[in-house]
Amino acid sequence: MFSWDLLIGALVFGLLLGCFYAAVSIGLSLSFGLLDVPHIAHPSFLVAGAYATWWLAGFGWDPILAGLFLAPVFFVLGVVMYRLYYAMFEKHGSDAGLRGLAFFFGVAFIIEVCLILVFGVDQRLVEAVYIGKSIDFTDDLRIPMRLLVAFAAALLLTIGLTLYLGKTYMGRAIKAVAQDQIALSLMGADPVKVKQWAFGIATAVTAIAGALLIIIGPVDPQLGRIYIGRTFCVVVLAGLGSMSGTLVAGLILGVAETIVLTFFGASWAPAVAFGLLLVMLGVRPQGLFGR
């Protein structure tokens, strides 16, 4: 049942979906990729951002505007989280990795349970002028407007973060901090402050990505679980800490998932992320753009 129209449709849809995957992963690219923090609760923050967007949308807010408004709130949340992680694990030394993983796993569960307690287990969705409409090219090729919103947001986030990390003093310090903290302090930067700032930014970005998540489709409190595989796949595929790599890796995952979905059926789609992750770790562990 192969047809060129189907393939082209899958490719276009996959590229747009890929941009969305890049947008939801780019915060993790900062926290896990650059800071070496095993932030497995990242997808839970996405879902929390989506719910906060839904809550604000209830007062008539536009979801994008809600995401932007939530960003500074999440920034503070991220700083607090990092301080907690630092005080409990990083300060005491080398095995912060594994114990940190357990810590963030716990955080993920707490967020999930809190969301269930507050909002219930039902799916939630938002409404906006760009949700539910599509631009029709042919009968087979309709591009939903909500995917174009994700596309624009992903592009802006990637460009913005690349510029920030490359052109500002704080940005360069964020890139350096996991490589040698003592050397960084000899440059006159406080490694802990650099990391908490970076973690704040990473979390602020998840608020915007969370708004995209609920624009793309309905969310429920356990949606984060699916995104653990997807986001970690994108970040590892990209090469830890590469922002432009995150965009490319997101596109690869988006296209691969859509093609598998179109030609092999929906039940195989969730295997794509983990499959790509395993292949990448086996073939090129440093990732596509890893240094």
């Binding site: 003093y169 360069r172 310090a173 890139k175 350096a176 490589q179 040698d180 003592i182 050397a183 960084l184 302090s185 000899l186 440059m187 006159g188 930067a189 406080d190 240094r291």
Partner: protein, 243 residues
């Protein structure tokens, strides 16, 4: 601009190990002072005390800049760097997965150095021309000698008033050791940089040093006001030349 570093009676250690037992020395504006000693005698510990990475348990460290005395003990690395002290750390400690240029830009992190970034970058590239050609290369992929140049240049990017250099010869071939140390000498001669250099390579060091101290078991065993004294001292001969 007048500058003077005074260290008196500094003691420091790691747990039960006493690394420094009452060390006193001073460095004045425009001098190159050598801190000599073989491995494990406390040179690096003293350098770490000067940059706030290790806190001395006793003694005084003061840096006087234009008549204003700053007590360095209790200050963290950030505050000390902001006073105009830069250190080329032992083992170079570059950011291996960043480019040469990114490493140099990080050297200019201290707010006072940021305004002169392009001037200082030009100075570094003029001093080490190879770094300009390699500016986009990852620091970790360079040879040891080139990495040492990046490390020195990165310290210069902060426009320091006092340059601390900890064991620049580690891991370098003899030819590169003499080239590296000669470069440090040149910074002092041509540009008036005040330098305190810890080093075990006696012969290369005395080529550029004005004065020197010999550190043995955490104590200053010998202090000389000129290089000839160092060269002719019996104890130094025993330590370095094999009597």
């Amino acid at each position: 601009m007048a500058l003077e570093l005074n260290i008196s009676g500094v003691e420091a250690g790691y747990g039960a190990v006493r690394a420094l037992q009452g060390v006193s020395l001073n460095v004045k504006q425009g001098e190159t002072v050598a801190l000599l000693g073989t491995n494990g005698n406390g040179k690096s510990t003293l350098m770490k005390c000067l940059t706030g990475l290790v806190r001395p348990t006793a003694g005084k460290i003061t840096l006087t800049i234009d008549g204003v005395e700053h007590n360095l003990i209790g200050k963290g690395p950030q505050e000390i760097v902001n006073l105009g002290v830069a250190m080329v750390a032992e083992g170079r400690r570059l950011f291996p997965r960043l480019t040469v240029e990114e490493n140099l830009y990080l050297g200019a992190y201290r707010p006072l150095a940021r305004a002169d970034l392009s001037k200082n970058l030009e100075f570094c590239y003029a001093t080490f021309p190879i770094l300009k050609q390699r500016s986009k290369q990852l620091a970790g992929s360079m040879s040891g000698g080139q990495q040492q140049m990046v490390a020195i240049a990165r310290a210069l990017m902060s426009a320091p008033k006092l340059l601390l250099v900890d064991e620049p010869s580690v891991g370098l071939s003899p030819l590169l050791v003499s080239q590296t140390i000669e470069k440090i000498g040149e910074l002092n001669r041509k540009h008036g940089m005040t330098v305190l250099m810890a080093e075990q390579n006696f012969h290369q060091t005395i080529k550029i040093a004005h004065r020197g101290y010999v550190l043995v078991h955490g104590e200053i065993a010998f202090e000389s006001s000129n290089v000839a004294e160092l060269e002719n001292n019996e104890m130094v001969k025993n330590l370095y030349l094999g009597a």
